[in-house]
């Protein structure tokens, strides 16, 4: 909402000393965020007031005139094509070497063989309207004619400051200058200035000219109109065009401008019908407020054609709909250059009705914006009088006597019971800071009247222009707003140590451990949008046999799909970073992935319960690494990242979540990549993670090298490794912070190294399993470490040599060399028997 400060000063007795910044600041604090801007004339100081001294025809150029202008003592000559000027007229002149608001450069040039220094401006040239005929004529009474040659904006008093105010949806009353003025009056405790319009009526009565019937009273509680005859449709005077332009509305003609201005001024929309276009009944124009019929259409003022439904409220004549009630008028009865008589409508429509129509037709207008938020039903006579008055002044109109006003049941002021004690309790404001008389005075300033008392409560009635005031808490808010929230005292918060917040697993905590672990391993945390393209996200979703989710109203194709996996975005980012020259990127993200899930629709009117979900939301931890495993230094080389590096990263995470018991039997199992993921990962260089439990194994993650095709899709030249872990699935099993530990064992450990040659098909896990079995009776094995893997000379074809180091220690005594030797010998025998292993010496 753009507001003219000059108009505000005419409406409310703002202290002279108060500068615009202070006024804007006060409005902002009161909830109307205000930005200060300058009116249109601030940039038009080069538009000068001039008088046409002499006009002369130019031979062979019948459309052009040579025009002598008087600018104070100076005279200039321009050539003009305007036909609406005569000697003595006051005009707007721009000198050479300046620019018009459109950016058009003005120079001295020769037109029709005559030198022309500068130009006479039309209203359109100055940005006052879209198109205008002839040059702008300035009315002598609007300016000081002794100041020819001075800037027109200053001489005509058109300079203004504009407040651009953000009005929240609960305050329809502030969508007009009067409403903002009322706010300032209440906040600053200064009086409003009288501004009741009076319109001069003629003898003839409105009853002879118009007949109105309202068929749907629940949709249209009040409908009022006036009839103005003998009007002359023309351009509005400069001051009105300026006001409208400053307020962001284009000037069209005086009649339309007046209805627009009265709306901007009083906050209530009006509509003007060309009376001659309405159907007549005994020489009376007919207006009906009714529901539209099926298949009716309406051509709007902006030429769009609207299919109406039986839920649309229209204002019609006997034959056809004339306009969509409260939203936009129709073309057929619009004001034209030849309009002589207008029916001026001001109506209060049910805001819900308007809202539904706005949504149905997706039509937002200045009028509907106000109507759907709730206008003031009491203000109708006032806005009609003001508009009628302006029509007499600016369009020579004659106002018929009386006003049609269909208002069968008056809308009452809301009565609110208010307990001062509740106000003190909720706000924390003390009685001594704001006593009851102050409360009454502050609310009184807003038009809230005291009706009486009932026990401890005071009864107030709220003005009809404040539909947002219906409850006690509404008045409490108004009081705190007027006192100023910065004047509310500050109190310490007494914490509820026994808060009844739902006890639940804290997924945040699990994420916290994983993030900490990954950062510790050199990964940079990424945060990606949850939205991406379907082509990017679908392969990952389909591989997991999940159904992807898509937005109904995306911003674009590229942000249409909800991510299932975090890996696609990470691959993309890795590719970008590699291209930017980061040689060994390590990135991770912890976040939610989405898939469709079964949900039963809610029965109408029932409320969703806290456990209800409308999508399957999974918290993932995903990471990607490429390049070298450790940074290259001046004296050491580092190997390229491979499968075992990423496996190490995962193992670290599992350990930090209490899901990794070193070499011992695991709750987490590593298994070959399931075939459905073979499009995403390299089938031989990737694996899946499962959580093992008695009730079955659950897949909780994937890791390994990405499929070469995926790398190509993401324009990744290197071998890329990555993983994703399903934290939601791991959540119930992780015990990151709470588990029991044992004191350190002080007995000495013994290390026994062994190199075994086994067939290629034997896995390290098989050796570990065998050791676990061998360890069963004594529990001497502390750890097993693989320190070597060798193939080549001295090793048989299709065999490999594994070096392992076994650490032995008894829980309660020192082991002897002989015991260790026996343990190893029997283990070697088992290796030979079970795994066809041989020992290398």
């Amino acid at each position: 909402m753009r507001v003219s400060l000059k108009t505000l000063r005419r409406l409310v007795a703002l202290p002279k000393s108060m500068i615009e910044e202070q006024i804007a600041q006060r409005l902002s604090v009161a909830g109307f965020e205000t930005t200060i801007e300058q009116g249109m004339w601030a940039d038009l100081d080069h538009v000068l007031l001039a008088k046409v001294a002499q006009l002369q025809e130019i031979p062979d150029h019948p459309k052009l005139q040579q025009c002598q202008l008087q600018l104070g003592k100076q005279h200039v000559q321009v050539v003009s094509a305007a036909s609406n000027i005569k000697p003595g007229d006051l005009v707007a002149y721009v000198a050479p070497n300046t620019q018009l608001p459109s950016g058009q450069q003005i120079d001295t040039k020769t037109v029709g063989g005559v030198s022309s220094a500068g130009m006479l401006c039309s209203a359109a040239d100055l940005g006052l309207c879209d198109s205008s005929q002839g040059v702008l004529l300035v009315a002598p009474q609007d300016v000081d004619t002794t100041l020819l040659g001075s800037p027109l904006g200053r001489t005509a008093g058109l300079l203004d400051t504009v407040f651009d105010i953000d009005v929240t949806p609960n305050r329809p009353d502030a969508l007009g200058h009067v409403g903002i003025a009322r706010e300032l009056s209440a906040c600053l405790q200064v009086p409003m200035l009288s501004n009741t319009p009076r319109c001069q009526e003629i003898q003839a009565s409105i009853d002879t000219a118009v007949h109105v019937s309202v068929q749907q009273r629940e949709h249209c509680p009040r409908f009022a109109c006036r009839v103005i005859q003998d009007i002359v449709v023309q351009q509005s005077p400069l001051w009105l065009q300026t006001l409208l332009t400053d307020c962001g509305v284009r000037s069209i003609n005086n009649v339309v401008d007046i209805t627009n201005w009265v709306m901007l001024h009083r906050g209530h929309p009006l509509h003007a019908y060309d009376a001659s276009c309405l159907s007549q009944d005994r020489q009376r124009a007919q207006l009906v407020v009714r529901m539209a019929q099926a298949n009716e259409t309406l051509q709007l003022l902006d030429n769009a054609s609207l299919e109406l439904s039986t839920e649309d409220l229209v204002v019609a004549d006997a034959q056809q709909p004339l306009g969509l009630a409260g939203i936009m008028g129709g073309k057929a009865s619009g004001i034209s250059a030849t309009t002589q008589s207008v029916v001026l409508e001001a109506a209060y429509f049910n805001p819900n009705t308007i809202r539904r129509m706005v949504q149905r037709h997706r039509l937002n207008t200045q009028a509907s914006h106000r109507m759907e938020r709730g206008c003031d039903p009491s203000v109708l006579p006032l806005v009609l009088d003001e508009a009628a008055h302006l029509l007499t002044q600016l369009a020579n109109g004659r106002v018929l006597k009386g006003m049609m006003d269909l208002y069968p049941s008056k809308i009452q002021r809301a009565v609110i019971s208010f307990r001062p004690s509740r106000f003190y309790q909720l706000s924390g404001i003390g009685k001594q800071q704001t006593d009851e008389p102050t409360i009454l005075r502050l609310l009184g300033g807003l038009g809230v009247e005291t009706i009486g008392r009932r026990g401890d409560a005071i009864c107030f009635s709220a003005p009809t222009f404040r539909p947002d005031l219906t409850r006690e808490v509404d008045l409490i808010e108004e009081l705190m707003r007027l006192i100023g929230y910065d004047h509310v005292p500050t109190a310490p918060l007494v914490s509820y140590l026994q808060s009844e917040s739902p006890t639940q697993h804290n997924p945040n905590l699990l994420s916290h451990y994983v993030r900490r672990c990954l950062v510790g391993q050199g990964f940079c945390e990424a945060v990606h949008s949850s939205l991406g393209s379907a082509s990017q996200h679908d392969p990952f979703c389909h591989a997991a046999a999940a159904t992807p989710l898509q937005l109904q109203n995306p911003l674009g194709e590229e942000t249409k799909a909800l991510r299932y996996s975090l890996l696609p975005a990470l691959l993309d980012t890795t590719s970008q970073n590699l291209k930017r020259g980061i040689a060994s990127p390590r990135l991770f993200e912890v976040g939610v992935g989405f898939a469709s899930c079964e949900h039963t629709p809610l029965p109408p009117g029932s409320m969703p319960q806290p456990h209800h979900r409308w999508a399957q939301e999974t918290t993932w931890a995903a990471a990607i690494m490429a390049g070298r495993a450790t940074p290259q230094t001046f004296d050491r080389h580092s190997h390229p990242v491979d499968f075992y590096d990423i496996k190490g990263v995962i193992t670290h995470i599992l350990a930090s979540l209490g899901l990794w018991q070193g070499w011992q039997e695991q709750a987490i199992l590593f298994r070959p990549l399931p075939p459905q993921f073979a499009q995403l990962f390299h089938p031989g260089l990737a694996a899946a993670l499962y959580h093992h439990s008695d009730s079955g194994d659950t897949q909780v993650g994937l890791f390994g090298q990405f499929h070469p095709q995926i790398c190509e899709d993401y324009d990744l030249k290197k071998e890329i490794y990555g993983f994703e872990l399903n934290l939601t699935a791991l959540q119930p099993h992780a015990h990151a912070s709470q588990h029991f530990v044992s004191p350190p064992n002080r007995y000495p450990t013994m290390q026994r190294d062994l190199a075994v040659v086994v067939p290629e098909s034997v896995t390290a896990q098989q050796i570990v399993d065998l050791l676990q079995q061998h360890n069963q009776p004594n529990q001497w094995v502390q750890d097993i470490r693989f320190f070597d893997l060798y193939r080549g000379p001295n090793i048989a074809q299709n065999h490999k040599s594994l070096g392992l180091s076994i650490c032995l220690r008894a829980p309660n005594r020192t082991l002897t060399d002989e015991e260790a030797a026996t343990f190893m010998t029997t283990f070697i025998t088992k290796l030979q028997e079970t795994l066809k292993a041989s020992v290398r010496s």
């Binding site: 924390g428 808010e477 929230y485 910065d486 509820y496 993030r515 050199g522 940079c524 945390e525 999508a615």
Partner: protein, 352 residues
């Protein structure tokens, strides 16, 4: 004295002197600690020169034997003393040599790769940390939410003009991507309906979604919301908490101001500004010359919200507040384009 010695004793005595002399000479010629140890074995070992002499003492008369033994013992100790001395000197020399070594200390150290937290997550964790200290429990809710919980239950029935304040992504006619974290309030409170005077203090962080995309708005962003409900919660307490929060998030000298505002689910509603952390209120480019920055929205829980979830609004009141995490992160780190957070450029991330 020597003339008084019997000839056999004299012979032993001479042998001892020769051995001692040889040992000392050998020791002086030694180049390494190992050689010194070899000399120890050669002269003092079980099969060494001194042992040979001692074994020969058996042939002496019983009168001479003690004297010879005494002499042999003296020589033994003298040789040992020389060995010790020599060892000491050599160790010192080695240490001296060792201490002569020098390297180029300017060559870079070997570092393991260092990881970095994302500024948004870091900021979100900091906010939650402050709130946890003030007694708030962290509760999360789903991002795909029912229209009813996202809007209607928060006093925004269908068609409410405030719904236009938050342009919404729809998954179906009544399922949306949540536009704020406030539905978590409803989920928590509705679990407590029919409770006499429930007490709740929760903070809910997470992603929220709006159909906006420019330098200061991202369609996906993060919010942290706080809710405190009880029989005697006041606006003054809300102010107290927020002032503390602002000071912990920025600097201890951060000031706060509150402006009236409108949210359908709180009444009264306020916008909270903080003094610009960059210029501490003097006006700079970050605060666009105003000295203040908008930080969050807050207010007292609207009675209509309590009524919707079945809590008596006469006996219970509460406050709620919410802030954009990106906004806080931008203010703290002087980032002006929100899209930088989502670029995940490692060069950017490495600065955190």
């Amino acid at each position: 004295m020597s003339e008084q010695q019997p000839p056999q004793l004299q012979q032993v005595s001479d042998q001892l002197q020769v051995v001692k002399q040889q040992a000392i000479e050998h020791l002086q010629a030694c180049q390494s600690i190992d050689e010194v140890h070899q000399i120890r074995v050669r002269y003092l070992g079980k099969k060494g020169a001194l042992s040979d002499i001692l074994r020969g003492l058996g042939s002496l008369s019983s009168q001479d034997r003690p004297a010879a033994g005494k002499q042999a013992n003296e020589v033994l100790q003298q040789i040992q003393g020389h060995i010790q001395q020599r060892l000491q000197a050599m160790k010192q020399e080695l240490q001296q040599q060792n201490l002569q070594r020098q390297i180029d200390i300017s060559l870079p150290g070997r570092m393991l790769p260092r990881g970095h937290e994302h500024p948004i997550v870091q900021t979100q964790e900091d906010i939650l940390q402050c709130l946890r200290r003030c007694g708030f429990d962290v509760v999360q809710g789903p991002e795909v939410e029912h229209d009813f919980l996202n809007f209607t239950a928060l006093n925004m029935p269908p068609g409410h003009p405030a719904r236009q304040m938050q342009d919404t992504f729809y998954l179906s006619d009544d399922v949306v991507l949540r536009t704020h974290t406030s539905p978590v309030q409803i989920r928590v409170l509705s679990a407590l309906k029919n409770r006499q005077q429930p007490r709740v203090q929760i903070a809910s962080p997470g992603r929220v979604y709006r159909r906006d995309d420019d330098a200061t708005h991202s369609p996906v962003f993060h919010q942290v919301e706080g809710l405190c409900v009880g029989p005697d919660v006041t606006f003054a307490q809300l102010k107290g908490l927020l002032a503390q929060l602002a000071q912990q998030l920025f600097t201890p000298s951060t000031r706060m101001r509150t402006r009236s505002s409108y949210f359908p689910f709180t009444e009264p509603s306020v916008e909270v500004d903080v003094s610009c952390p960059r210029c501490s209120g003097d006006a700079c480019s970050v605060c666009k010359g105003t000295g203040w920055l908008e930080l969050m929205g807050a207010g007292m829980v609207d009675p209509a919200v309590f009524e919707t979830v079945g809590i008596d609004s006469e006996t219970t009141c509460g406050f709620a507040f919410g802030m954009g995490v990106e906004r806080v992160a931008m203010l703290r780190h002087g980032v002006t384009d929100i899209r930088l957070f989502y670029s995940n450029d490692i060069e950017f991330l490495q600065q955190f």
